[in-house]
Amino acid sequence: MQAFTKLTGIAAPLPKANVDTDQIIPARFLKSISRLGFGKNLFANFRFKEDGSENPDFVLNQEPYRRAEVLIAFENFGCGSSREHAPWALLDFGIRCVIAPDFADIFHNNCFKNGVLPVRLPKEVCAQLMEDAKLGANARITVDLEREVVVRPNGEEIPFKIDPLRRHLLLNGLDDIGQTMQHAPAIDSFEARQKAAQPWLYA
């Protein structure tokens, strides 16, 4: 997993609540067996018209947002299906950070496992950042995970909080399976105890 430390880039405003994972990556594009390549179908139902041509009204089809690395949206971002293809599609497109008032639980988890940083900020702040983002290429914002601040184009710093363990893993790009493997003896003894008490759980 790619580490996330600090990012300065273009932010795309998506002033919508309840952006679900079917919108982020529609089910018909889930057939790949790789983690890569989903970016071209990110938000496909908004980005492309029925005939396959680009919809010029959608933010990610406009300059400079085609190069956006941050996405700003409203409440309950990532609700719906648990598909990890949603963060894969964001990442493959180039978006490494999503800022919203809150996130659906599974999506929130999935982001951390893939080096995408979900930042929770109050709705008014999100609205303010969207206004900043509308200024386009001259209005780069910085997301600094080390210091846990978002820096507005005018230099104002907005603090945010990330769970310490997740922050550590993300800053260092660590895979948590390796970490868990170190607890193998505890898992072994758990299984021995459980098997004695609930033998029907073991084939």
Binding site: P15, D22, R28, I177
Partner: protein
């Protein structure tokens, strides 16, 4: 230690599965059953292979194909779509390489992962159950802690049989009194989502309680728990009781004899203790619930079938007004229009929400002696091969076919647009599935969610209809 603090059903299952608590409060949680399907696993098995890791407990893992497959005869001659075929073939290779038990496409036990887990007796009370699919919440109806996970977590469970989890908050939703005539588990859960909203349960595990839940059969409880995720909570559960135990006793792979007796003793200790603390409590009067139907593009946009399309102009909040306007436009509606006047093109009875034998019986009861309206395509897709066989043994397939319904093979089918069963742009469907998002059943498709009996009534009348006006003509 003094007498233990009263605990909820969730607390008890959680406590029994914590392997270790990390310094920051994250628990390493043991997983008893891991269900897998073709869409959310290829990248996980790839990860294992790359790291030289094995599947820790193949005996606690089960694989099946459901999302991608055709539900007509073409499944017997091979999958046509090359990408779908590759996904299924990849799973088939992976289960062999990693020694994971697998139910192949042409096996009678094949079906939607959330139908077959309980049906086979693999999903049991007190278990922790995960699957790379958000509707894993379904299995909570067994009195288990069951939730959906992403592909990285699938890989984590395959390798370690554990997950890193933070404890959730407890919510209890009590549905008191008796359900009114014409109402089902589907109407209960739609009414609940209408009340709490699509993010109402975020961060919580919901325990469903009250007389109306106790009175539901296991299929009804599964419907309720299934759509918990649509209310924002990752897991929903119902305390195990005699209904649960009787159901398990009939399953092919559940514990039998002495093992079952011993298990029931254990399971009987699981229900929430009197006085256990719930962070959030909600009470709903069952009798006040009328048959429900969604009108918009998230499950919270739901009304009684007697309702009319709401008017965005009545909404004060600007963002909410814009969202409602978008829903009205996408769904091709006119404010003030009666929901019962909406003509449907397609009726879909199926999905992990409503494809069990009880659901098919409910649809057949309405369909018997009647005809699907002209111009309506109505399909019934059983949740598993075993459901299909049981329905055929009861003659339900014949009743449905005589009424003009298609009778299909088991799978996810039109619940999501990733297999050949799809809506075309602008088509309106009455669907027993769980998501009415834009494009969920195919790009441009318009979905109304409702119960199987309501869906059958829509098929017969050609428009959304009040099931209370379409009572069975003849006994099944």
């Amino acid at each position: 230690m003094s007498a233990q603090k009263p605990r909820t059903l969730f607390d008890k299952i959680w406590d029994a599965h914590v392997v270790e608590t990390l310094p920051d409060g994250t628990a390493l949680l043991y997983i008893d059953l891991h269900l897998t399907h073709e869409v959310t696993t290829p990248q996980a098995f790839d990860g294992l292979r790359a790291a030289g890791r094995k599947v820790r407990r193949p005996d606690a893992t089960l694989a099946v194909v459901d999302h991608n497959i055709a539900t007509d005869d073409s499944r017997r001659t091979g999958i046509v779509d090359p990408e779908s075929r590759l996904q299924v073939e990849t799973l088939e290779k992976n289960v062999v390489e990693f020694g994971v038990p697998y139910i192949p496409l042409l096996d009678d036990r094949q079906g939607i992962v959330h139908v077959i887990g309980p049906e086979l007796g693999r999903s049991l009370p007190g278990m922790t159950i995960v699957c790379g699919d958000s509707h894993t919440s379904t299995h909570g109806a067994m009195g288990a802690l069951a939730f959906g996970i992403g592909t990285s977590e699938v890989e984590h469970v395959l390798a370690t049989q554990t997950l890193l989890q933070k404890p959730a908050k407890n919510m209890r939703i009590s549905v008191d009194g008796n359900l009114a005539f014409g109402c089902t588990g589907k109407d209960i859960i739609l009414a609940i989502i209408g009340r709490i909203g699509t993010a109402g349960g975020t961060g919580h595990v919901i325990e469903y309680a009250g007389d109306a839940i106790r009175a539901l059969d296991m299929a009804g409880r599964m419907t309720v728990c299934n759509m918990t995720i649509e209310g924002g909570a990752r897991a929903g559960m119902v305390a195990p009781d005699q209904t649960t135990f009787d159901y398990i006793a009939r399953t092919p792979n559940g514990p039998k004899g002495d093992a079952l007796k011993r298990a029931i003793e254990w399971w009987s200790t699981l229900p929430s203790d009197p006085g256990a603390h719930f962070d959030t409590e909600i009470r709903i009067d069952a009798h006040a619930i009328a048959p429900q139907v969604t009108w918009g593009t998230n499950p919270e946009a739901v009304l009684p079938i007697t309702g009319v399309v709401p008017n965005p102009a009545d909404v004060a909040d600007e963002a909410k007004r814009a969202q409602m306007q978008r829903m009205v436009d996408y769904m091709g509606l006119v404010p003030g229009q009666r929901l019962q006047d909406l003509k449907v093109d397609v009726v879909f009875i199926g999905s992990c929400t409503n494809s069990r034998i009880e659901d098919i019986r409910a649809a057949a009861a309405i369909a018997k002696g009647r005809r699907v309206a002209d111009g309506v395509r109505a399909m019934v897709v059983p949740g598993s091969g075993l459901v299909k066989k049981a329905a055929e043994a009861e003659g339900l397939d014949r009743i449905l076919k005589e009424a003009g319904f298609e009778w299909r093979e088991a799978g996810c089918s039109m619940c999501l647009g990733m297999n050949p069963d799809k809506l075309t742009p602008g088509q309106r469907s009455a669907s027993t599935s769980n998501r009415n998002f834009e494009g969920r059943q195919g790009p441009g498709g318009r979905t109304h969610l409702l119960s199987p009996a309501m869906a059958a009534a829509a098929a017969i009348s050609g428009h959304l209809a009040d099931v209370r006006d379409y009572q069975p003509k003849e006994a099944l």
